[in-house]
Amino acid sequence: MATIGVQHYLVVSAALFSLGLLGVLTRRNAVNVLMGIELILNSANINLVAFSRYGAGNLHGQLFAVFVIVIAAAEVAVALAIVLTLYRLRRTPNLDEVGTLRG
């Protein structure tokens, strides 16, 4: 227990992923759902960097994490654009009040 191994980081990452999933599942506000998605992407990054440190012995995991950060930046920009457009259209930031396509 005293020496920190790869599984310690994986457990922290699993906790972060579960909390992010909880945020995505339960929050009504769209910006809060985006925060949950950011938590999930961060947990994936912790996994990649931990494997890069303990498993492979090279830097490919860290490179992958940089790509994940790039994707996260692009994702949050597009998602906020959609949320702002939705707010302009429907005057609500809550996702469950946007049910126009529901049959």
């Binding site: 906790a15 009504r28 597009v78």
Partner: protein, 166 residues
């Protein structure tokens, strides 16, 4: 407990605790500021894993970019007199139970798996090697990611643009 374990548990507590505040706080502003501490905790874990360049990138991109963008999102999707910025939840207890079971499942898998302990990397400065890999072996995904980022940002600006005819 050696020093590495103490630092690890400190950063892990900061990360997971503030992530719980992000998910459970009633106010959107509290969530956003707790997200700041989560990003700091994750950056600390990166430093502990010997990823100095990635830790700096995490602080620059997440704290400097994404968090500010999210705060703009919070501010722009509420009326100005709506000061409390509440965010209610939806089907909380079934989801909490589901994610708790999911977390326990993941943790048990992590603890029972014998992970390959290959060549453990000695902590050393990484930015020079990352730069060589990006402009050598991984030049194609690097360029593809830069084009994707450009297209996504132009697309985001196009989506929120006010149209004349609307």
């Amino acid at each position: 407990m050696n020093a590495e374990a103490v630092v690890f548990y400190a950063f892990a507590t900061i990360t997971v605790g503030s992530a719980a505040v992000v998910v459970l706080a009633r106010s959107l502003i509290y969530s956003a500021f707790a997200l700041l501490f989560t990003f700091f905790g994750v950056a600390g874990l990166y430093v502990l894993l010997g990823a100095d360049f990635l830790a700096a990138t995490q602080l620059l991109v997440y704290v400097g970019g994404i968090l500010v963008l999210l705060l703009f999102g919070v501010m722009l999707t509420h009326k100005l007199y709506d000061l409390d910025l509440k965010s209610s939840t939806h089907q909380f207890f079934p989801s909490a139970l589901l994610t708790l079971v999911f977390f326990l499942f993941l943790a048990s898998v992590v603890w029972t798996t014998r992970w390959a302990q290959g060549g453990e990397r000695v902590p050393a400065p990484t930015s020079a090697e990352i730069g060589e890999l990006f402009l050598g072996k991984f030049i194609l995904p690097f360029e593809a990611a830069s084009i994707l980022l450009l297209v996504a940002l132009i697309g985001a600006a196009m989506i929120v643009r006010r149209r004349k005819d609307a």
